[in-house]
Each structure stands twice: as C-alpha cells, then as structure tokens.
Symmetry: C2
Subunit: 366 residues, 2 copies
C-alpha cells in the first residue's frame, strides 16, 4: 500500500510490485536499499516491539523507511497493529541552526532526563536534506556519545523519503512504533531549513528552540516564524566568558516574546540559558519542559493539540498528494514554464493561466 504522495497510480502509471519506484517518476526518491534483511511476519515484529526488543523495533523502522512496495505493505500492517499501543509519551521537538550545538545538547538533555525522570528515550530526526548529503548529522550517534550507549535510549537518523512530507510521515509512523515499544519520551530533532520546523512542530507536544548569543550585541538572525512556534527558547554555550552575552540574548528574546499574544497553550514560553557541553542548567531546561507538559495536560490542551495534529496530517497528506498529482503530471510539467512566461510577459493574468492548466489537467483525468 503506497503512500498517496509517492504513488504514481493516479497519473495512470502502474508500478510493478517488487520493483522500486523508477527515479524518472519522482526524481527525489532514494533508490532501493541494497541490504537484505530477513523479513518477519507483521505479528512477529509487533510481538517483539511490545516486548521492547530493540532489534525488532529497529528492523521494523527500517521497513517503514524502505521504498520497496512489499516492505511498505508489511510496515503498514505493523503500524496498524501498534497503533492501539501508541500515544503514551511526551514528544519534544528540538530545533536550532547548524552550530547551535544540538547534538551535544541532546546528549546532555537525554542523559539527565533518563537519570531524573526514568523511562526510555527515543531520539529521531527530520532532515529532508539527508537525501542530497547522503547522510545526516542529525541523529548521529557518534555525536551523542553518552546517550548512544545508554541502555534506555534508541537513536535513529532521519529517514530519507524524497520530500519533507514523506520524511514527516515516516517519522510520525516511527513514533508510533517507539511508543508501542515503551519509549515514553521522544526527541525529534530538526535543522532550521525549509519547512522542517513546521513539520516538527506539528508532531510534538513541546517545541524547543536552541539559540546562540551573537558576538557583541548582535543576535544570530533567526528564521522568521520560528519564534512564534517555540514553546521554550534556550540559549546554549552560556559558559565561561560567554555567560553575560548569553544572558543579554535571553533578555532580548524575552522582550520580543512579549510582543506576541499568549499562545494557544496558555503557557507563556520561557527563555533560559544553559551549556550543553559543560552540562550547566540542564535540569532547569527539563523542568521547564515538564512543567509546561503538566499544565497543558491539566487544561486538556495536550490532548486537544494531539487531535489537531492528527487531523492536520490527514489534510496535509491529501493536499500534498493533490498537488503532486498535478505538478508531476507529464503534460503539466511541459506546460507550466511557458505558461509562467506568458504571465510574466504580461500576456495573460495569473488566474487565466491557472485555469488553462487546470482545464488541461482535468481533461486528461477523464
């Protein structure tokens, strides 16, 4: 059962079972994985997952990430069976620009969390660029030295899926499996590129933004729109000579946050300083997160937000597929640029151009 976004069925092409989707249809789709794993039955994966068997969980997640149609069918079965056991976790999104020290911070946050709060922790990542770079520094175990060897942690690099929508879907499905396996804390790491933060924010209960203090009075430029979705902002590298700059940066952010209305959560975002490398202020950051969670659980906003997110992903999937089906259509792909040129050349209005393309598209579907 292919994800509608990736399916080419609707464009009239049939994808043969057992053959990886040809790159010509979706140029960004990664090639079929070369490694061959022994495949278990869906029931066997689920049984292992529910027991907390890390190896089974890991192989099941690999199924989710696979583009092989047979793997996808099996993965969906496993997900469906795990769904009733999912949901019982706190999902925390962690974002920051490259160089902000995310890996070191996640390492510190993760270890302190497991020591102080118990339970288990899964660390996932959303990084659509991993396709191009053939590997992501997110979820890179070598950069999370302590967490990587902790028996209660499960770390996974970002899936590759040819599009942000695909990556987001697979991450969300992976969360389901992790929760079924008893991971009651989930970190979802992302970089500040494109719409990654929006996708990350739409699947977590708390969105943490890692910032750095700039040199002098300058603050690192931050992508527009991020400040408003952060549930908490933390300034890293508040150590040694950098402490005063970090505190100044924190006060700038606090002032800026007051220009915005109270968030829907009813909890005002806080700004804290910490040092991931020297492990200073870590417990305060965790307390901020869990205090927030406590409040929104009590107010009912926690469950409300989860419901809204579930609906969001349904509509987002539909909308993405409707667009892909149009824009990847062979004829439309040829007509779009000339039509753009006519618009830019002042020959037709944007709206007339849109209608011409849509007329063409719908006549082909019939």
């Amino acid at each position: 059962m292919e994800h509608p976004e990736n399916s080419t069925e609707y464009a009239g092409l049939q994808v043969n079972a057992g053959v990886a989707q040809p790159a010509i249809v979706n140029p960004y789709l990664s090639s079929m994985r070369k490694k061959r794993h022994k495949l278990f039955t869906a029931g066997e994966y689920v049984e292992g997952i529910l027991k907390g068997d890390v190896s089974m969980l890991s192989q099941a997640v690999t199924l989710i990430e696979s583009v092989h149609p047979d793997h996808q069918v099996l993965a969906q079965e496993v997900i469906e069976k795990c769904l009733p056991y999912s949901g019982n976790s706190v999902r925390i999104g962690i974002s920051g620009v490259p160089g902000a020290g995310k890996s070191t911070s996640i390492d510190a946050f993760g270890v302190h969390l497991l020591n102080n709060y118990g339970g288990k922790l899964a660390v996932l990542a959303i990084d659509p660029s991993s396709e191009k770079t053939k590997g992501s520094i997110l979820g890179d175990k070598t950069r999370m030295e302590k967490l990587a060897v902790h028996p209660k942690s499960f770390i996974r690099p970002s899936p590759t899926a040819g599009s942000l929508g695909g990556v987001a879907r697979k991450t969300r499905e992976t969360i389901i499996l992790c929760e079924a396996a008893g991971y009651n804390h989930i970190f979802v790491e992302t970089v500040g590129v494109g719409q990654s933060e929006t996708a990350c924010h739409s699947m977590v209960d708390f969105f943490l933004l890692i910032q750095l203090a700039g040199t002098g009075d300058e603050l690192q430029g931050i992508k527009r729109g991020i400040m408003e979705i952060a549930d908490g902002i933390v300034i890293n590298k508040a150590d040694g000579e950098n402490v005063e700059k970090a505190k100044l940066a924190a006060s700038h952010f606090r002032n800026a946050l007051h220009l915005f209305p109270m968030p829907e959560s009813g909890v005002m975002p806080q700004v804290l300083c910490y040092s991931g490398f020297y492990e200073l202020g870590i417990d305060e950051v965790l307390k901020m997160i869990f205090d927030h969670i406590g409040k929104v659980k009590e107010s009912g906003y926690f469950q409300y937000k989860r419901n809204e997110q579930s609906k969001y992903w349904m509509y987002e999937s539909i909308n993405e597929h409707l667009k892909n089906n149009f824009y990847y259509n062979k004829t439309i792909k040829e007509l779009i640029k000339p039509m753009e040129d006519d618009v830019l050349g002042g020959k037709i209005t944007s709206f007339v151009a849109a209608k011409k393309l849509l007329d063409e598209y719908y006549s082909m579907l019939k």
Copy 2:
C-alpha cells in the same frame, strides 16, 4: 469563463449560463446582484478606462465583482485588453487591527500623497468577512471624508467573493483596471483577520502595518507572522498625552525587528510614530514608503518581487482549485468527518485515512 475556484464543472455538474451559481454548491458565494446596468462592449469599457473615465472604470470593476457568468466573460475580456497598460504604479498595503484608525489614516496619507506627489490614488480593500457582515467598513467613503471628495481619488469597498482567494483575485484584477486608468498609486487596505494580510502582502510593493500603543507598558497583541512581512510599522495616535507611550511602543518594535534577519528587500523596516487624526508625521511616513520604493527599484528587487507575486497567484489559484474540487465533492464531504473520527479514535493513521479518501476521489473522476 468562470474562475476555476468557483467552477463546478470539474465536479461533473454543469452550470447553466446566465444562472447564478446555486448556493448549495458553494455555500459562501454571494447571490447575484439585483441591479441591472447597461452593458457596454469590452472595447467601450477599455476606451473609457484608458481615458480615465471614472464612471466606466467603476462599472467595469462592478463587472469583475459580479458572479453572473456573462459578466465574468465580459470582465475577463476587459482585463485582458487592459493588461498591457497595467503595472505602472506603486501598490501599498495597509493593515491594522480594528480600532487602529485605518480609515482616518488612509484619509490623511491619501490627501498628503496626492498633494505632495501628484498623480492619482485608488483605494481598494480586501475583507473576506464582508460577505457575512453584508458590507465592510473597509473602503467606506464616509470614513475617508477628505479623500472621498478628492477629484484624483477612486475608492472602492472590498469585493465579496465567497472566499479569500476569490476576493484576492478580484482585487488584483481591479488593480489592473485602475492602473490602466492612470491610477499610479494604489492603497490596498485589509484587516488583521485570517490570511488577509498574507493575501494583501502578496499583491503590494510595500506593506504598512498600523499599530497602537497599549495602556502602560503593554503593547497590543499582534498576530504572529505579521511583524516579519511588514516593510514599515507605524504607531498611530501619537498625539497629546499619548506621545510618550507611542514612542515607547516604537522602540519596543524596533528592538524586536532587530531579532530578525535583513529582509529580502535589502531595506530594514522602520518604525515611526504619527497621528492620523491630527495629521502629524504623515509626510515622514510617506517619505519612508517612497524612499523604500526608490531603493528596491534601483536594486531590481521591485520587479523581481512583482514577478514572484504573479507566479505566486498562478500557483495559489491552481492549489486552491485542486483542494476545492476535492473538499466540495459531494461524496468526499460525507466521508470526511467519519474518517476524521476514525483517526482521532486511533483506528487508522492520518496517512491511511488520506489514502482512502483519495482512492475514492480519483475513482469518481474517471
């Protein structure tokens, strides 16, 4: 030629020429206008518009706003013929919360602009809620006393069109006619509701945000995302005892703006104080706007932005129609809520739900 967004052709229904679209298909569509105007030929409208005949311009704009299919065909002809004469203007978006004093401000800005810069000024509005309120306070001539009687001004309330996309389209088409009629300055007014600012921002060269100083240190809450798209922020009612509060508010906004990177325009947004009612600081506001325009014209960003906007509206129209065709589909409308409930009840994932709905939809199109 109906706008794809409003056409029901694609859902398999035929709309009879001459009959207003039945409300059952699009519940938000306004009913056909009752007044009957004498209709001219497209050539006659265009001739009048190019001569700057306000009555002909006004009647042509009424055609654009009409949902009558015959009127729409005629309107599109007029627009097509006017297109080569359009573009030669400065388009300024003006937004602010209700109570910010937009009408009074536009009155002052408009009169000072005409006196100091010459030319002609058209004042338009984007207000999708006007459908429900049966009339908009935006573009309300009674609230722009001086401008309403100025021989070089043309004021028009927001079109009603059943959706923001429809309103935005008609406004953009109206701009084409106004520019062909020699209006080299265009104000587009909008309220801070829904996505109106985004639509307004996507059709203007400069986006001006009107703010008020709050009581004491509080600032009026501002909608998230607006601060980043404003090319200039102006604090109104900086008069009498309120001057100090206004200046304080201005400095808060200036500090907040520095947390964001330099905008694409290459021109840092300014924050100024003024009083629309007492006409203080008006010329400084206008100077800020025209200085900005001068810079972006020189850098080439002005034309680049206009091209991006033209492309944006083509893609936006396509995407809106693709979605409307799906979500207004009779069968889909019945299936959506139960599917949502299954997702929220944890029976299926968001993605599986999306696929089921899409499968149903495409099988119907064939």
